[in-house]
Symmetry: C2
DNA sequence: ACGACCTTAACGGTGCGTTAAAGTTT
DNA sequence: CAAACTTTAACGCACCGTTAAGGTCG
């Protein structure tokens, strides 16, 4: 005589779909009170409406079905407290993450309104690399090419790795230009007087690409600077220019805040 | 002689995994510059690093791969503006949603700290239902049972549906109690003097469960009221108590604001 | 007997990570 | 020859929605 429901009615009363109830049964989250052994129809009782409500209430606060299942199996207060605390943390993180995205997107839209051509900037991490290099003060960017050639001829060609570029210790924002052409070296090498041998430190870098002309590079520099400003990053060392066959990858080492 | 990379090196340079590149190839988002027809090795060129950076920059702002693919195929400024605007909206919505969740979870934790037993509250929508009812002013909750019995004996039993309960037009927060026992009716029915025939309107309801004793019901009432307060809802009509075989479902009709 | 219900099974969506088995390059 | 690379194929994750083909209930 005790009241009971078939899946459809119980789903209606509980505010979920029958499919959801079948799924909850399958994963062991909410088992029907009984199953007809001939027809396999599920049977639910009114008390299970409370269980379902408890599940729904936790879901709305962002709990995963696995968390809810574990909680309802142990039923401990400590467990519940832990889950709620986790949910609080992840809600706060979601707010922070979404706020950042909002700032970024807003800045990007403003750029478009000023009809600037978008230049994508991305973060990359680089491991430390052994390099041979050749630091020099110059008056124009083009002038650094002479030191690049010197470096390339001084380092044995069988030791030169794929990575080549220039570090800029100071550029247009200072009174003078100071560059340091470098090449990665594959193996130990006797340091001759014509170049320094040292490690390029590991770094987190804001990167953008440009063509090899000065105008294009300037735009990329501006894009990275703006990108860093919107995100609150600061420069953490010499900028890097990486040569990639007709393409320049410009990298600004980052520190946050 | 043009530089080119195999998938692993290109992945390293681009800051993604080889698997990601294979996936982007598969869905037509970023096709390698070439494929060795014998070995099927993918070949990428430096210019594609720009493409990859553009993809990554959009991903960080929350764009889906499908959106990015469509954008890069059309390449129109209008399309880009539309996507950015969508992203902005969804970021704002995320913030709002997460803020709500944060409030709810925080309130729930405070309840636990006050060592209140949690009573889950959920929202349900109910369609309109035809009912027979019997409104009456009473002095105690128990007194309403007499009118329930009157109603049940007055309505032909073959017309009574599964839904039974009482509407409370005013309860303990007012000076007097006014209840309205009701039963759903299955089909048209001559309205005799002993009961009213009317439609229970469709509603959005905050629902909780209790046992049939007054103490338990009181706790559920308090839980719902608190729940509504945290979420900024207001009461939009008479409360409903639904009888479910040893269980009471208490429903507060809601309006937002 | 017909419609409204129920059953299981299987695919889809999002964006890859993770084996696994087998071929390629150095 | 072995290490380090590459390939395709297939499953896994979270949470169900959506057919599809076939029994059951009133």
């Amino acid at each position: 005589m005790a009241a009971h429901y078939r899946i459809g009615e119980f789903a209606d009363l509980g505010g979920v779909s029958p499919k959801t109830l079948r799924f909850y049964d399958e994963i062991g989250l909410l088992r029907p009170a009984g199953v007809n052994s001939r027809t396999h129809y599920r049977r639910y009782v009114p008390q299970q409406l409370e269980d379902l409500a408890a599940i729904r209430a936790l879901r709305e606060m962002g709990a995963s079905l696995a968390e809810i299942r574990d909680l309802r199996k142990s039923g401990s207060t400590a467990q519940r407290r832990k889950i709620l605390s986790t949910l609080k943390d992840s809600a706060q993180q979601s707010i922070e993450a979404a706020s950042k995205v909002l700032d970024w997107v807003t800045a990007e839209i403003e750029d478009m309104d000023r009809s600037e051509r978008p230049i994508p900037v991305v973060v990359k991490r680089r491991p430390p690399v052994w390099i041979a290099s050749n630091r020099a003060r110059v008056n124009t960017y083009a002038e650094i090419e002479r030191f690049e050639r010197e470096l390339l001829s001084a380092v044995p060609s069988d030791a030169i790795g794929a990575l080549r570029g220039t570090l800029w210790h100071s550029c247009s924002d200072a009174d003078f230009l100071e560059g340091e052409p470098f090449v990665a070296v594959k193996h130990a090498l006797p340091a001759k007087g014509a170049f320094d041998l040292r490690q390029l430190p590991a770094a987190t870098l804001a990167c953008a690409y440009s063509k090899t002309d000065d105008r294009s590079a300037e735009l990329a520099y501006l894009a990275i600077r703006k990108w860093m400003q919107v995100r609150g990053y600061k420069l953490a060392g010499p900028k890097r220019e990486i040569y990639l066959d007709q393409l320049l990858e410009i990298q600004f080492p980052l520190k946050s805040a």
